[in-house]
């Protein structure tokens, strides 16, 4: 209270002093102040006044004792206010400074400031290094990592890169380089020479653009076309290719038609080409049923409808491709002119085709009986007439001229055929269509007629008509051929039977021996010349040259057995027998009853009966020959509680052992391993197999990819800064931001 009063007084005194400016008051105040300072008890240390300049000056030496002597800011700036050169702004600032009475904080200690600096630097480094976070976590999660990370792509490098890192060393190399440089040939950039570059530069941009667009389009089209062709080539379907080829042929024919009118020379060339192709086909072994494929098909034909069909088609194709294109007129004329008696008739050829067949009877003309043809279509196939309907008709005309002995033979044959028909209900179906043959013949004749009409035309048109005619003929022949081949396939079976018939026939023929002395002789040698000699010439004249006669190599005839129908029933029986067979084999041991016995035994093991706990000697006499009393025994009898029901209770054919197998438990996991959260998760991973027995090749490869792959003998460098750039998670903007923010942070901190 005392001091506060004084202070109040002091303030009042100050005001007085300013008003009155009395010297006495001043003195009083001085006294008062001295008295107050004396109250504190401390003697204030009087500081020395600075009198001389010193290099090392302490801040504690500065004297601030006398308020009156203290230099105020106002004293210093009085001069400034007077001078006019100082701007007003500065004066204002100084005035403001004069008014403010705040003291400045003292600077931080060295330790503190260093600590802050370190902290800031660390923060900066930490944020800087956090850039790697995404790429690191990505690598940790990756299914597979391939080291070194920045692998150069294998394969050829561009020339420039190879050449720049290489210097000419040997004199030869130096010479070459000198030459190249002398001729201004490119060394480092081998794509363009200087002149080329100049010309490129000369080209206008628009031109270049248009040119480039064109080129691009052309390239694109080409690539599309290539891709399409590749795709089509890859298609395995034979049918597709067949259809495609057919379409192509048609298209070609159409074009050809036009070409005939517009450009006959080119058309002629085309024609020659076709001829060459045909010749090549004849020369080659293609479609001759001699290939591996054909053989395999022949084996399969017995069981497989598709294979049989494929073979037929093959044969047909062969016929079609090797068909010579000839005008009937020309051929006829030639034939007549030659009139060669020594030339073998086609009947001979036909017979020769059958050389490999086992049945000598089949070589003759016998099967060409008209009645027979009507009755049994399959016999037609025995001679494998592949030349089509035209021939048949020709042959029909010749029948009249055949000799008596042939007639007799045919009688035998017909008798035999009848028997055969009776025997086999499953005769192959007749597929030769008589009507179609007729049609084809008519078509051929039409062609002939048209030929005659247009005799005046040029040689070329003649040729062309030949082609058309040939095609129509081929089509006709194709129909017949199909039938033929179908019968051929069945021929084998029939032949076997016919062999048997031959024996029968020989027995029969003993009766007719008197009529024909020469008959018992082997027919194969007998029949052939006789028929050919008689039939030969006249037939020759009527017929065109057939391909068969000219061909050096004949098509192989496939003999394929039909799937046996009789055996099928046997198989059925056997199937039924299978069970019985097993029964028979295991007749001795009765497995089922043994099993049941075993099961009952196991069941009984668990259910123990009544337990007798009587102890002899307790409560009565004991010893040899003494039994515990009945009452006692009854008393100590204990009945066991029935065991829980067995699991296999309702499964009659199963025994489930409920004992814990210690051997198995040794291999089982008894607690859930770490990364898994529940047992189903763990079980599912265990249950999914990895091996190639259960997975496809691709899947196995994918599943068993190793986690880390390193290349043999390569140094793996530490991760480089380039990896950051590669990382898709950090955009370039983010990088920029990071780089910009950091220096700013540092500045503000300082």
């Amino acid at each position: 209270i005392h001091i506060s009063f004084f202070v109040f007084d002091l303030k009042g005194a100050d005001e007085d002093m300013s008003k009155e400016e009395d010297g006495e008051d001043e003195r009083k105040r001085q006294h008062l102040l001295e008295a107050i300072s004396a109250l504190g008890g401390k003697r204030r240390k009087t500081l020395r006044e600075r009198s001389e300049a010193a290099v090392q000056m302490s801040e504690f030496m500065v004297n601030a004792e006398d308020e009156s002597e203290r230099v105020e800011l106002s004293d210093l700036i009085q001069i400034i206010e007077k001078t006019s050169t100082v701007p007003a702004k500065t004066k204002k600032q100084l005035n403001n400074l004069q008014r403010s009475k705040k003291t400045i904080e003292c600077p931080l200690s060295k330790q503190e400031s260093e600590r802050i600096r370190r902290d800031v630097a660390f923060q900066k480094a930490a944020t800087d290094i956090s850039r790697w976070k995404s790429i690191i976590s990505q690598n940790q999660r990756a299914e597979q990592l391939v080291f070194p990370l920045n692998q150069e792509p294998s394969g050829p490098k561009p020339m420039e890169r190879v050449v720049t890192g290489w210097k000419a060393q040997t004199p030869l190399e130096q010479e070459i380089f000198a030459l190249l440089s002398a001729n201004k040939q490119p060394i480092n950039d081998p794509i363009l020479t200087p002149t080329e570059q100049a010309s490129v530069r000369a080209m206008s941009l628009e031109d270049a653009k248009v040119h480039r667009a064109e080129l691009q389009k052309a390239r694109a089209l080409q690539s599309y076309y290539e891709a399409q062709a590749r795709r089509e080539k890859k298609i395995k379907s034979k049918k597709f290719h067949k259809v495609q080829n057919k379409a192509k042929r048609k298209e070609f024919l159409k074009q050809f038609d036009e070409m005939v009118k517009t450009d006959p020379a080119a058309a002629l060339e085309e024609l020659n080409k076709m001829e060459v192709a045909r010749m090549q086909e004849r020369m080659s072994l293609k479609h001759q049923n001699s290939g591996k494929w054909a053989k395999s098909k022949a084996i399969m034909a017995k069981y497989n409808e598709g294979a049989r069909k494929a073979m037929q088609q093959q044969l047909e194709l062969n016929k079609h491709l090797s068909q010579k294109l000839v005008t009937s007129l020309n051929d006829d004329e030639e034939e007549e002119e030659v009139g060669d008696p020594e030339l073998l008739p086609d009947f001979v050829n036909d017979a020769e085709q059958e050389m490999d067949s086992s049945n000598p009877w089949m070589r003759g003309r016998l099967s060409q009986d008209p009645t027979e043809e009507e009755e049994n279509g399959d016999t037609v196939g025995l001679t494998t007439e592949q030349s089509g309907g035209v021939e048949y008709i020709a042959e029909e005309e010749e029948k009249v001229e055949e000799t008596e002995d042939n007639v007799i033979l045919r009688e035998f044959d017909s008798r035999r055929k009848l028997r055969q028909a009776l025997e086999t209900d499953t005769a192959a179906e007749m597929s030769v269509d008589e009507e179609e043959e007729e049609e084809s013949k008519a078509a051929a004749e039409d062609g002939d007629a048209s030929d005659k009409e247009e005799e005046g035309l040029s040689e070329f048109t003649n040729l062309f008509h030949e082609i058309v005619e040939g095609q129509s003929r081929v089509e006709g022949a194709g129909d017949a051929g199909r039938a033929d081949t179908s019968t051929q396939l069945e021929a084998g079976v029939i032949r076997i039977r016919t062999l048997r018939d031959v024996e029968l026939l020989t027995q029969d023929s003993s009766a007719t021996d008197k009529l024909h002395g020469e008959f018992p002789k082997p027919l194969s040698t007998e029949n052939l010349p006789s028929t050919t000699q008689k039939a030969g010439k006249s037939r020759k004249r009527k017929k065109k040259i057939q391909l068969k006669e000219v061909l050096t190599k004949e098509t192989k005839v496939m003999k394929v057995l039909l799937a046996p129908t009789v055996e099928a029933s046997e198989e059925l029986e056997e199937k039924l027998d299978q069970r019985g067979l097993i029964k028979e084999a295991f007749a001795g041991d009765d497995v089922i009853s043994e099993f049941l016995k075993d099961k009952r035994k196991r069941e009984n093991v668990g259910t123990s009966k009544i337990l007798d706990l009587t102890l002899p000697g307790w409560g009565e006499w004991g010893g040899t020959g003494l039994k515990p009393s009945r009452s006692k025994r009854r008393r100590f009898r204990v009945k066991n509680a029935p065991p829980p029901p067995r699991k296999d209770q309702h499964l009659p054919s199963v025994i489930i052992s409920e004992k814990r197998n210690s051997f198995v438990s040794l291999h089982q996991v008894n607690s859930l391993p770490f990364p898994f959260e529940n047992h189903t998760q763990f079980e599912s991973t265990i249950c999914s197999p990895l091996g190639r027995t259960w997975n496809t090749e691709q899947t196995v490869k994918k599943i068993t990819k190793p986690k880390v792959v390193t290349r043999l003998g390569t140094i793996i460098e530490p991760m480089a800064q380039e990896e950051l750039v590669k990382d898709p998670h950090i955009s370039s903007q983010d990088l920029q931001v990071v780089l910009q923010v950091l220096p700013w942070k540092r500045l503000t901190a300082k």
Binding site: W132, S296, F682, V708, E717
Partner: protein
Amino acid sequence: MKVKVLSRNPDDYVRETKLDIQRVPRNYDPSLHPFEVSREYTRALNATKLERVFAKPFLASLDGHRDGVNCMAKHTKSLSTLLSGSCDGEVKMWNLTKHECVRTLQAHEGFVRGMVVRYCGTSFFTVGDDKTIKQWKMEAPGYGEAEEPLNTILGKTVFTGLDHHQKEAVFATCGQQVDIWDEQRSSPIRSFTWGVDSFSSVRFNPVETELLASCASDRSIVLYDMRESAPLKKVIMTMRSNTLCWNPMEAYHFTCANEDYNLYTYDMRNLDRPFMVHMDHVSAVLDVDYSPTGREFVSASFDKTIRIFQNDGGHSREVYHTKRMQHVICVKWSADNKYILSGSDEMNIRLWKANAAEKLGVLAPREKQAINYNQKLKEKFQHHPQVRRIAHHRHLPKNIYHQTKELRIMKEARKRKERNVRKHSRPGTVSVVSEKEKHVVTVVK
């Protein structure tokens, strides 16, 4: 009785051309291939057993030093070259493929403390007890030429460690303080001190190349930025770290080898607790080196063993030892991730396979497939007790085996005691301290 014969369509199994691959028809119907789990389990078990059968990691021993091998350096450009410095100041250059020494030079008087190959592979630096830093040419001197260093720097104090920058002509040494040197100057361009201590090793970060870390004798690990004038941060642990190594694929991870038998992997950004504690050694860990893939590291210990750890696994996956190998002082993982090199007290350098059961050399594709498949099987069934037992079994020298047991007992006892203390005190007063937190004393900013 009729005999039936199988007949098949040859088209189903005959190739079209002999150049085609043989068609092997497979039916993946699971009902046809039953018992897949048990079959694969058997395969996995067999694979594990075979792995142990084929585990022969020791390849060669390089002898020639006349004193303990104190430091080693990998060549940065050549896989077959290794440099080693011994306690008598001798440096040897080895050809690893031929297992022979190709060059010997007397580099220092006293120990060769540190050695590092320049990033370009043309020269290398050594520091020794004679207070010098020397730069040597990688090529041997020609006939008649004297074996002389390219450059010698005389320091004021002994240098204990050395490392070179990944891309620039700058290297760092440690001794009483950590110095950053420009190759062209004879005085350091920067020196870092933080308190009075001596440093045992210094390492540049191979990824973020301006960062360094060092181990100090006051049980601390200090981080530096080469561009800053002051160090960044330090963490003080319960015991001293001998060396450390940065992960070459994960920029902010480093592992330090500690005197308390453990290794600690830290995330540089968070030094409060190690990211992972790697235990298994039974004596002080002296050196550590990362595999170039950054997935594993190898540690050398005073207990005469080398151990290989996963970078995220608490226990080692492999332990290598031989009867003759003494305290292992330095260890390196080769740059192609295939081999491990260890230098030990008894003057030998040993060459080991990184994967003990791996077949060396070029593998046929089918071999590769089989190896991959077996590897996956082993991974799949690793939790099954029999598989695990076989896979984890390692023969250990008797003393290490007993020491491990002893340590385990000690640890359990300590745990039990902690548990009891917690049980008998007011709840909340005794907190649970995790193993990771236990070993960090403080982090100094």
